[in-house]
């Protein structure tokens, strides 16, 4: 089975999922992102790496934050950016995904940033585009959200540089979460020795332990002595039904409060991919507290997305080129 993300020389061709990417490439993306963090702090927040390229944000599912950060990232690389919310235009007229993509290729798009409600949508598009076009998965169903996984790794590395000595807990709706899957693969690939998931059985996928995680059903034992707490968003539609009785009960059992966080190591950090449901999965005092790195995550997200785009379109020397512009 060919790895659709890599070209014949083992270089990144598309970014579709963390799974299937070697450690070397993950580190390369993280290192490249390092050099882009500084760009935002300059007076002129732009480098010309993607000048003359057209990046197309193709969002079949609504998103504000992810789409905006991709837009900013592309613009800081000097690319021309088009953002399309397809669910509100062509798809409602019956156009297929491939028709939409083909039309944009005919308009000479160079890179697609794709979000779709179905798992595998980015793989599907990547399989059908010509060789010179790159696809970045910005979230496909429950499957993957690789730039989120990478920006989380980048954030963790900033605060806890020795990944080989970390205990990480991922808390919440793992079953429906593409973020959780990306985080798990990224953590295990980068050599984090202990990754835990904490959730009720209704929110865990079958055989989740085969992804290389330790399974906990209560916060007390699950959070004990961890260095990093990664919270997941609970979708509104899961809050009342057969998955969970109520948001209140969920908050009581799995919501991250300062009391529960105190079970972790004193210097533990807290991540959340946003948007947060305050009072459902996380208490405001924790979200806004000293251990929270939720806003830095957003900032680093732009650097990660710049790094990925630069590596895909600008070749493998993206980081040195960013440095030269400094």
């Amino acid at each position: 089975m060919n790895n659709p993300q890599l070209d014949a020389d083992g270089r990144l061709r598309h970014l579709l999922s963390i799974e299937g990417l070697p450690k070397k490439i993950l580190n390369q993306i993280l290192d490249t992102a390092e050099s882009f963090v500084g760009v935002a702090e300059r007076e002129v927040k732009k480098v010309p790496l993607l000048r003359g390229k057209t990046v197309c944000n193709l969002f079949f599912e609504n998103s504000t934050r992810t789409r905006t950060t991709f837009e900013i990232a592309a613009k800081r690389l000097s690319a021309d950016v088009i953002s399309l919310n397809v669910n509100t235009s062509s798809q409602s007229k019956g156009e297929t995904i491939l028709d939409t993509v083909d039309n944009l290729i005919a308009m000479h798009a160079d890179m697609f940033v794709v979000r779709h409600s179905q798992s595998g949508a980015a793989h599907f598009i990547a399989k059908h585009v010509p060789n010179h076009i790159h696809v970045i998965n910005a979230g496909d169903g429950r499957h993957s959200h690789p730039t989120q996984g990478l920006l989380d790794m980048f954030t963790i590395r900033k605060y806890k540089p020795d990944l080989h000595n970390l205990r990480v807990a991922i808390v919440g709706d793992v079953l429906h979460s593409r973020v959780a899957r990306s985080e798990i693969h990224a953590l295990t690939t980068l050599g984090v020795p202990e990754v835990r998931v904490i959730a009720p059985k209704t929110l865990l996928p079958a055989h989740v332990e085969k992804l290389g995680v330790h399974v906990f059903h209560d916060m007390k034992s699950g959070l004990k002595d961890v260095d990093v707490v990664m919270m997941l968003r609970l979708q509104n539609e899961r809050m009342n039904g057969a998955m969970l009785p109520s948001a209140q009960e969920y908050f009581k059992t799995y919501g991250l409060t300062q009391d529960k966080l105190n079970l972790a190591r004193p210097d533990a950090i807290v991540l959340h991919p946003g948007p947060m449901n305050r009072g459902v999965e996380i208490d405001s005092s924790v979200a806004d507290g000293p251990q929270s790195v939720i806003l830095p995550q957003v900032t680093y997200g732009i650097a990660i997305r710049m790094a990925v785009m630069a590596m895909l379109a600008g070749g493998q020397n993206a980081s040195s080129q960013a440095g030269n512009q400094a």
Binding site: S119, G120, A121, F124, H143, A206, H207, L211
Partner: protein
Amino acid sequence: MKIQIKNGHVIDPKNKIDSQQDLFIAAGKIVAIGKAPDGFIANQTINASGLIVCPGLVDLSARLREPGDEYKATLISELQAAVAGGVTSLACPPDTDPVLDEPGLVEMLKHRAKQLNLAHVYPLGALTRQLEGKVLSEMGELREAGCVGFSQANIAITDTQVLWRAMEYAATFGFTLFLHAEEPFLAKNGVAHDGEVASRLGLKGIPSAAEALALASILRIAKETGARIHISRLSTAEGVGMIREAKKQGVNISCDVSANHLHLTEYDIGFFDANCHLKPPLRTQRDKNALSTGLKDGTIDAICSDHTPVDDDAKLAPFAEAEVGATGLELLLALTLKWAHQEQVSLLDALSLISPSSAKILGISAGSLNLNSDADICIFAATEYWKVVPNALKSQGKNTPFNGLEVAGKVKFTLVHGQVVYQSE
């Protein structure tokens, strides 16, 4: 028209024939095996030297897509595919548009198939009107129109009261019910086996328990009503165990497995290969092994193609949105031989699973080389390899998870009613 099939290796599982013999056909019937009848002068001689001569294959589940879904496939394209695959009789499920719940539709289908003069078509009538699982169809009328049994296709009867009555009514007249065992609530929106691969890929799973739960209801009600039940496309190890136990207890039941499930597991989905979006879903290696064991020990009675042609566009979508199904009629023989080779099952026993066994389940007279029976015959090269190339398939459905695979078993001639209806180029 008199035909002599010369020097072939004749295998007739039903009559335990497995040797090199000549076969003689006159007026559409088999008139002799071995020695020519007195005064027999052949109009046509087929040299079957080095080839296997066996009864035409009988497929328990092949969708022809007519009426209603002609953009996916047509009667003529799929019956040409059938004979190209050595299949001379096939049962088609009732999930057409409109569904086969009216005698007129069944008569029309039978009539059109007959005019084409390719494979014989044996429709399965809808067990309930519109397959809605509420009101019984006119089974007696449908039987008279040519239905050999009744089915719900992939749609479950959720109301156990209706299932019970359907079995009682069918049992009254000795009709066979062809049921697919999948509990619809557990399987809701599921697109893959609820296991490691679905968890990794973020696909909604269908747990093995969905099959076990549905089977438990069906078996229990079958025991109570004495209805004759055939379970279509078993997929789990647990299911195999349940059927084995039910057979021991004397429940009047048979079952089949699709050729796909003998060769593929959840891992074949790879990076979202929509050709592996099948119903039931591809399950684990353990399930696959159990299905194989079940076939060998007689728990599973037959192998079907589960031929489900899908138009190309319907597969061009992300995995869950891609339509379910794969083309299969032209692969049934090769996939069965491949399985038999891997499992060291004899050619005679393997052919038995795709011809006489299936014929018996359908209650039709096909599946043997009995003297004076219709000369429906498949002649194939058992060790000749060919590559599965979608565009070379006769079926209008080009979607197959076996794309590019080299398989042994090439059909050379297919005869129906003593006429050559297919000859390989």
